[in-house]
Symmetry: C2
Subunit: 153 residues, 2 copies
Amino acid sequence: MSESRWLDAEEMSAWQAFLTASHLLDRRIEEQLKSAAGLTHPQFEILAILSASPERRLRMTELARRVVVSKSGLTYQVTQLAKRGLVERTTCPGDDRGVLAVLTDEGMRHLEKTAPGHVEVVRRFLIDLLSRQELTTMASAMRKAQEAMRPSS
Amino acid sequence: MSESRWLDAEEMSAWQAFLTASHLLDRRIEEQLKSAAGLTHPQFEILAILSASPERRLRMTELARRVVVSKSGLTYQVTQLAKRGLVERTTCPGDDRGVLAVLTDEGMRHLEKTAPGHVEVVRRFLIDLLSRQELTTMASAMRKAQEAMRPSS
DNA sequence: TGGTTGTTGTTCAAACTCGAACGAAACTGT
DNA sequence: ACAGTTTCGTTCGAGTTTGAACAACAACCA
C-alpha cells in the first residue's frame, strides 16, 4: 500500500472537468445518433471500426477490444445489428471457434449516411473548440493513458 | 444543414484516443470501486459531491445535473445508497416538491475509506502520466467542451 | 497420441440507464 | 383568486451492460 497522495486543486479540477465533459459529450452523441440513425454509440463504433478494417470484417474478440466493451456486450450488439441487416456473422477460416463480424453493403450505406451528423456533434462540442496545439496535447495525453491501461497497443 | 467537414488525420486520431482512453479509464475505475467498496462509479460520485456540498446535502435535480445522469437514474442510485444507509432523503424546507439527498455519517466514513484507492487509480492511469503543462491544457480543453454543452456553469 | 491448459463466443441472471408519463407542488399573469 | 404553465421527483417499461458459467475448439508438451 503506497502512501495516498491526494489531488491538488488543479489536478482535481482537471479530473472533474474531464469526467463531466466526457459524460456530457457521450450524452449528446447518444442522443444525436439515436434520433438521426436509430443507433447507440457502441453500435455506431462497431460499424465505423468494421468499415475501416480489411474486408470490412473483424474477429469478435478483437472488435470487442477496440470498442472497449465486454465480450457479452458485443455479442448482444452484433445480434442487434444483424437483425437489421447491417452486419453479418461469418465463420472464421482457419479457426472453427472464431466468428467474424462483417459489415454488409447496407451497413456501409447506413454508416455513410449517419457519419456526417455524428462528426458534426464531435466537432461542435470538442474538436472545433480546441486550438491545434490544444488538440495535439490532449491527444498525446490520451495516448499515454491508453498506453498505460492496455499493455500493448 | 452545414456542409460536412470530415476529420483530418490528427483530429481523428485525437478523437479516437479520447474515446478509447475515457472508456478504458471508466472500466478500471468501475472495477476498482466495485471490488474495493461495492460501489459503482456514479454511486461514488454521488457520495463525493454530497460530501463537498454545504451541510452535505443537495437537491435531487441539482445532484443529477452534477453527476451527469438522468433524473430517474439518480432516483434509482439514491435509493440503492439509502438502502445501505450511506444517504438519506429529507424533505426540502420551503419547497414541498423537493427532496434533499443527505450524506450520512456512515456514508462519509465509507467515502473516506474508499477515496484513496480511487484516487490511486485516477493518478496511475491519467494524472501522473501528464506533465503540469499537459494537465492544464487538457483541463482547459475539457472546460471549453463543458461550457459548450451546458449553457451556464 | 493423449491430456492439460488456453482461447473463443454465447447464454444467463442481475444490475443499471434512459425517456415518457405521471401526480404534486410552485410559479405566472390576469 | 384562479386557470395555465413550469418544475420536481418517482414510477414504469424497454433496452443495454456486465461477469460468471459453459461448450466447443485450439495449442502445447510430454
